[in-house]
């Protein structure tokens, strides 16, 4: 999706074959990445069309259906209050994917402009921003996310903000490094020589050229954010009951592991598949977008 929206920007720089078309052609050759892309699309469809796909209401309890093993009526079984596990997995995709999307949007929205600023302006702005990035990266990812959401208060929105803020320094550092490398290239020199203002050079000449590594990082960051949301919900700091989330389902499932193991299997498997797909997609994008890779 992101690839196509960036097309018009990069099209100007195209010589023989458009670089995005080349990247897409290379990505298509990688089986793992393509399978991952299909799985991602399926998960997105599952989240968007949840009300039409889910066989039952994900919050409807039934005392006659408490902790029933998988059957034809309930493929993934039922949970401790008789809710259908499959329906909760389908609706749970909403919490996970929106956490991935929202928190990475926060990280990109804040991190990329700050990274551009630090890398392009240099000087004291760069020094201050870099120290803040160092400081944030010195606190382990999940610990910072837990701490932030603890101080903000437990809710899915706050968890997304916490994960977004925690993911920001990586984007600042990446954008800064890429900007500093691009800044000394001939095409930037040329743009400066013809009298373009700084903001225009940064946005129109530097930014489009650093999009590839950002795309790779975004895919990996979404994987990280999905796992982080699940972790926060597992700890009770994310999605609050009875709304379904894969992480909080695992939390409950742990208490019933000896009586109802299916309650624990499926939510974890869903997290695993979603995270694996974004990781594979990120790896595939890295190989496809790397100009050194022939």
């Amino acid at each position: 999706m992101t690839v196509t929206t960036s097309l018009p920007l990069a099209a100007e720089a195209a010589s023989e074959e458009n670089p995005w078309a080349r990247a897409w052609r290379r990505l298509r050759r990688r089986k793992g990445a393509m399978v991952a892309l299909v799985v991602v699309v399926l998960f997105v469809a599952m989240a968007v069309f949840a009300p039409w796909i889910a066989p039952y209401d994900p919050t409807a309890t039934s005392w006659s259906l408490v902790r029933k093993p998988p059957t034809w009526a309930h493929w993934f079984g039922t949970d401790e209050v008789g809710r259908d596990v499959l329906a909760r997995i389908i609706y749970g995709a909403r919490a996970s994917l929106s956490a991935g999307l929202v928190s990475v949007s926060i990280a990109v929205g804040v991190g990329v402009p700050l990274g551009l600023l630090a890398g392009y302006a240099g000087g004291w702005i760069d020094s201050i921003l870099s120290r803040i990035v160092d400081a944030m990266l010195a606190i382990p990812f999940l610990i910072l996310a837990i701490t932030l959401s603890a101080f903000l208060g437990p809710s899915l929105t706050n968890a997304m903000i916490a994960i977004g803020v925690t993911s920001t320094p990586v984007f600042i550092r990446l954008t800064r490094g890429q900007t500093m490398a691009a800044k000394v290239e001939d095409y930037v020199e040329a743009a400066r020589a013809v009298g373009n203002p700084h903001w225009r050079i940064a946005l129109r000449h530097v930014l489009p050229n650093i999009v590839p590594p950002l795309l790779v990082q975004m895919s990996l960051a979404i994987a990280g954010a999905i796992i982080a949301e699940a972790a926060l919900s597992f700890l009770g700091l994310g999605q609050q009951p009875p709304a379904p989330s894969w992480g909080s389902m695992l939390n409950t499932a742990q208490r019933f592991i000896s009586q109802a193991p299916w309650m624990a299997f499926w939510p974890g498997f869903a997290i695993f598949c979603a995270v694996l797909s974004f990781n594979l997609l990120g790896d595939g994008l890295r190989d496809a977008l790397d100009p050194r890779h022939k």
């Binding site: 400081a135 606190i139 999940l142 610990i143 699940a230 597992f234 700890l235 742990q254 624990a264 594979l280």
Partner: protein, 313 residues
């Protein structure tokens, strides 16, 4: 070398200051009267007044920070409202547990990750390489709390071989201690092994294409010696320094793993403090974690320069 050391040491000071500011600043995120929130269940006006006095809550924020920092620098990380003991002593009590877990996880990760990385680099683009890469993807994508629950189901519930939760001190009964920590250590090590495998693979691939490896081969050395003596030695340098960076991931993982296996370590201390609104403990623990992480990175950097003759200068 000495100049580099001084420069590196000077560099971490501003970082540490910013870390302390960030952690102190967290307090400002709390909605409402911080004294009321920090007191938790306690509503006694005397306690509230004590908290206000202790944290200088009636003073402007920069002044509060200076007081807090003064305490931290003199070794006073604050007081736990709930446990009525100092954060410093809590950290000293819980840290060894997590360190035992981390050391075991590290061992497991090294035993799996490095051989897997070597094999996949030496047998590049074969079934071995493919399998090792699949293993790495599995390790990177499995939520460790899920893996923990699955292991509990298999080894504790179904087979009854290992206890599902709890912890025994290593000094008390080492067999029981290992039995309580082997599953969580494996869960932690599994993820780290994946990272380590990837690092080792790429470092080995680079080393294997270096001139000195070609020379070793040209001399007629057997392949085993070329790989293990010549390539591996050089490839391990970046891998070991990268391990220091993975320490943070290990601590993050420990938070979840200790929660799943009810192990009273550092991670569980953070979570329990979060849920009991024991914010001083959270701040203290995070500050200690970040400081340890920064110092470990410093040591890794210095070690890297020490073992790399080209950088020694």
């Amino acid at each position: 070398m000495f100049g580099y050391l001084v420069q590196r040491l000077l560099q971490i000071i501003p970082t540490l200051i910013v870390v302390s500011m960030l952690i102190f600043g967290l307090q400002q995120l709390l909605p409402g009267d911080p004294a009321l929130i920090m007191a938790g269940e306690e509503r006694d006006p005397k306690v509230l007044a004590e908290i206000r006095e202790q944290y200088k809550l009636d003073q402007p924020i920069p002044v509060q920070y200076v007081y807090w920092m003064k305490g931290v620098l003199s070794g006073n990380l604050g007081e736990s409202m709930r446990l009525k003991s100092s954060v410093g002593s809590l950290v000293r009590e819980k840290l060894p547990v997590t360190l035992q877990l981390a050391a075991m996880a590290l061992l497991i990760a090294i035993l799996i990750g490095i051989p897997a990385g070597i094999v996949s680099a030496v047998k590049k683009e074969t079934g071995w390489d493919y399998a090792a890469n699949l293993f790495a993807l599995w390790g990177l994508s499995t939520p460790n709390f899920w893996l923990g629950i699955l292991l509990i189901f298999l080894f504790s519930v179904t087979l009854g071989w290992l206890p599902a939760s709890g912890y025994v001190l290593l000094s008390e009964d080492w067999k029981a201690s290992l039995a309580t920590t082997i599953m969580p250590a494996f869960v932690l090590g599994n993820a780290l092994a994946a990272v380590l495998m990837r690092h080792t693979r790429s470092a080995m691939l680079q080393a294997m294409s270096a001139d000195y490896v070609r020379t070793a081969r040209a001399k007629g050395l057997e392949e085993r010696r070329v790989v293990l003596k010549h390539a591996l030695r050089n490839a391990m340098t970046p891998v070991i320094t990268l391990l220091a960076l993975d320490f943070g991931a290990l601590l993050s993982g420990a938070v979840l793993t200790e929660q799943v296996f009810t192990i009273p370590g550092f991670g569980k201390l953070i979570i329990d403090s979060v849920f009991n609104r024991d914010y001083a403990v959270v701040q203290g623990v995070v500050l200690v974690t970040a400081t340890v992480y920064i110092l470990l990175n410093l040591m890794a950097d210095i070690a890297y320069v020490l073992v790399n003759p080209r950088l020694r200068g």
